[in-house]
Symmetry: C2
C-alpha cells in the first residue's frame, strides 16, 4: 500500500460493527468436523457491492445474490463449502433462498438483505438436512472475534485459510478493511472458483463502492490464473457499514481514491494468496507484459503465456524455457513481431529480439529455481502493459483432480442422487 497502514488480526471480523461465526455441518462428509458454514453480519445497515462469475452456467447462490444486490444493499452473508449448489435447478434456488431466510428471520431483515455463496462439487443437490439443524448454533456463536473461523469455513482444496485485515487513516478517521478468500482450483480470468468476502467500517456511498469494487476486481482477481478454468460460483461481496463514525466519503474525492487504493491492495493481497495456495502449486510467477501496442494486446499475451500447459509444465520443472513462452506469445492473437520480442526471466535476458540471449543457461536456471520469480515480456511496439499472477502446473495437480467419485458416493448414501 502506498500510504501508512497497520496489519490487524481477525480478517472479516476486524472492522468495527461486524459479527461473524462458523459451524461444522458435514456438508461434504458427515463424519468431518471441519467448519463449512459461515455467517458475516453487520450490526448496522451497510452499503454493499458485488462481482460475480461471467460463466453462463451460474450456481444458484450466484443468481440469488445477484438478484438481492439489484434490490438493494446487503447486511449479512451466509456461505458454505463442500457443495457448490451449481447445476441444481429450482431445488438449488430453494436451498439458496432457505439459507438466506435462516439469517433474515432471526434478525428481522428482508431476505434480499442477505448474500449467499457456495463452493464445492458441482451438480449435486445441497444436503440441506445436514445444514438446517446447524442454523441455531451458527447464530449463537456470532461474535466480534470469529473472523478466522469464516476464512476456515469457506476453504475446500486450499491448504490453509487466507485472510487479511488492515487499518489506516482516511483523512482524520481511522478505518479498517478485512477480507478472506477461498481459491485453489478453477482459477482463471475472469474470476475464479473463488469466494471473497470483504468488510469495512468506512462510510462510502453505494455507487462509489460499486465502482471501486469492479475496478479493483479487474486489477486483482481477474489477473490471476492457476488452471485456466472459470468457475460457476465466483463471488466477491463487499460490505461497508460506516461503523468507524467517519463522515460519508464524497464521490471522486481524494479520500475516495485513497479508499479505492486500499481496497485494491487488500484484493491483490488476497488474489496473490490464492495463486500461492493453488492446487499443488510450487511456483508463483509474475508475468509482466510491456511495450504492447494496446492494453488488450498486452492482456492477450499475458493470458496466453499464463495459461499455456507447456509453459506451466516447464515452470514446474524449473526449466527457463523461453521458446515455449514466445510460442505462446505468438498464438495469443495479439499483434506482435517476433523479431522485436525481449524476454527477461528473473531480471536476466533469456531472449532478445526474438533470439536466444547470451545469458548463461545456468544463470537462467538459477532464476527459475526460486519459488517466486518474475518474467518480463517486452513486445517493443508501444506503451501498454499488463501484469498477471500465475503458477506452475504440476503432475500432482492432475492427480489431485482425477476424480470426485468419493463425493458422489456420499451423495448417494445421503439419498440425494
Amino acid at each position: 500500500m502506498d500510504f501508512p497502514f497497520t496489519r490487524l488480526k481477525g480478517g472479516v471480523g476486524a472492522p468495527l460493527g461486524f459479527l461473524t461465526s462458523a459451524v461444522s455441518c458435514g456438508i461434504k462428509n458427515p463424519d468431518s468436523k471441519r467448519l463449512d458454514l459461515a455467517l458475516i453480519y453487520s450490526e448496522k445497515p451497510c452499503n454493499s457491492a458485488g462481482a460475480f462469475t461471467t460463466n453462463r452456467v451460474k450456481a444458484a447462490p450466484v443468481r440469488v445474490s445477484q438478484a438481492h444486490l439489484r434490490k438493494g444493499d446487503l447486511r449479512a452473508i451466509i456461505a458454505n463449502s463442500g457443495n457448490a449448489n451449481a447445476c441444481t435447478g429450482v431445488q438449488g434456488i430453494h436451498a439458496a433462498n432457505a439459507m438466506c431466510d435462516a439469517v433474515a428471520k432471526p434478525f428481522k431483515l428482508k431476505r434480499s438483505e442477505i448474500g449467499v455463496a457456495s463452493t464445492g462439487v458441482i451438480g449435486l443437490p445441497m444436503p440441506m438436512l445436514r445444514v438446517e439443524p446447524k442454523y441455531d448454533e451458527l447464530l449463537e456463536r456470532l461474535g466480534p472475534k470469529n473472523g478466522p473461523d469464516v476464512a476456515a469455513a469457506i476453504i475446500t482444496s486450499d491448504t490453509h485459510a487466507k485472510e487479511v485485515a488492515v487499518s489506516f487513516d482516511l483523512g482524520e478517521h481511522r478505518i479498517r478493511i478485512g477480507g478472506c478468500v477461498k481459491g485453489a482450483g478453477m482459477i482463471s480470468p475472469s474470476m475464479a472458483t473463488m469466494l471473497c468476502f470483504i468488510t469495512t467500517d468506512a462510510n462510502i456511498p453505494s455507487d462509489s463502492l460499486r465502482k471501486a469494487v469492479l475496478e479493483c476486481v479487474e486489477e486483482s482477481f481477474n489477473r490471476i490464473t492457476i488452471d485456466g478454468d472459470m468457475s460457476t460460483n465466483d463471488t466477491v461481496l463487499v460490505l461497508a457499514n460506516g461503523a468507524s463514525n467517519m463522515p460519508l466519503i464524497r464521490r471522486n474525492s481524494a479520500i475516495c481514491r485513497q479508499f479505492r487504493r486500499a481496497l485494491r491492495w487488500v484484493m491483490l493481497e488476497l488474489a496473490k494468496a490464492v495463486v500461492r495456495d493453488g492446487e499443488r502449486v510450487t511456483k508463483f510467477v509474475t508475468v509482466n507484459v510491456t511495450g504492447a501496442r494496446t492494453y488488450l494486446d498486452a492482456k492477450k499475451v499475458a493470458e496466453a503465456v499464463c495459461k499455456s500447459a507447456l509453459v506451466k509444465s516447464s515452470w514446474n520443472g524449473g526449466d527457463p524455457n523461453w521458446g515455449r513462452i514466445i510460442h505462446a506469445v505468438g498464438y495469443s492473437r495479439a499483434r506482435i513481431r517476433e523479431e522485436l520480442v525481449d524476454i527477461h526471466i528473473g531480471g536476466k535476458a533469456a531472449c532478445l529480439g526474438g533470439l536466444q540471449a547470451e545469458t548463461p543457461m545456468d544463470d537462467l536456471r538459477e532464476a527459475v529455481s526460486h519459488p517466486e520469480f518474475e518474467i518480463v515480456i517486452n513486445l517493443n511496439q508501444g506503451a501498454a502493459d499488463y501484469t498477471m499472477y500465475s503458477s506452475d502446473l504440476s503432475p500432482e495437480y492432475i492427480d489431485f483432480n482425477r476424480s470426485e467419485y468419493a463425493y458422489w458416493k456420499q451423495a448417494r448414501k445421503d439419498g440425494l442422487v
Copy 2:
C-alpha cells in the same frame, strides 16, 4: 471412407512416381542412430498445396515453405526432427534455404520447388554441421519403398510412426493417396506441432487441390487438441504428381468431390492417430456438440470442453464428471442456456436440462472406463454442430514436459549456444 477403398502399405511412398528416403544425422543427440532427416521426391512435376501454423511466431522452414508455395508448385520435401529451427533469426532462414538447396541442386530444380519442415526444440540453431555430411546418403537411399522411413524420421516425442495409404477408383482410374504425420505435444487448433506430408498420384489442378487441402485441414487437424498449445512449426504439405495417368480432374466435378472426400478421410485418420499418440495420453475422446444456434457457437463449446484442464484431468481419472463439462460449456462464450443443456457420455444420459440425469453413476463410470468414448453435448437451441477429438491430460504429461534442459546441454556441447 464412404466408397470402396483398399489399404496399402508404404505411406507417402505408396502413390506412383514418388521416391523417399531417410537418414540419421544425430540432430538432437549425436550419439543417436534414430532417423531424423527425410526426403520425399516426385519423379514428375507436381501440383501442390500447403497449410501452416497461424502462430505469429513462425519457424524458419514455415516461412521458407510458404514463400516457395507462393512462387509455384513444390516437387520435393525435406524434413527433419530434433530441432524446430524456430526463433533462430536470419541464421535459421539460411539453414532452411541450405536444406532446400541440398535437394534442388542434384535434381536441377529451383530452390522454390522444394518444401522444408522441421520439428523439435525451439530457440536452438540447427546443427547444420551434423546435417550437411548426410545429404549424399539421403539422395543415395532414395527409393520407392522407403515411405515408412519418412514417417519414422519426423517423429519426436511420438511413441510410434504414423502413416496411412489407400487406393481407390476415381471414375475409371485407380489412384493412391499416402500420408504420414508427426504429433505428440503442442497439439491444438488451429493446427498442431505437427508435420503432415501427403502424396498422391491423382491428377488434380492446383487450385482445386489448394481448396480441398484447406477444407480438409479445417475438418481434421484443426479439430484435434491435446494440450491446447499451438506450435510455431505446424505444416501440412500435399504433392499430387498425376503419375496414375488419369486425365486431369475437372474443377467442381463429382470426381473432384470424391477426391476431396478421400483426402479428408486420410487427413482425419492421421489427425486421430495424432491424438491417440498424444504425449502420455490414455483416453481418446470424441466431443460432439449439437443443437447450437450457429457453427461458431458449437465450435466455441467444443473447444472450451476439449481444452479444460479440469475436464481432461477427470477423463484421466475415469470420472464421468459432467459438472466440469457444463462449467466449461458455460465459460465458452457461446450463447447457451443452462436449463436446456443435455450431456450424454458414451450414449448414456449424464445431464438432462442442466440437471443430473437418473443414469446410475456406475453406468457412467463404465462408459468412461473405455480407452475411447464419445461425449455428446446437445445445446437444444438450433441445428449447428461441431465435432472435436481430444484426449485426457495425465500427470505423466506434465512430468514429461517439465524440462528440455538435456537439449540445451547438448547444444552447448555443440558450441551452438
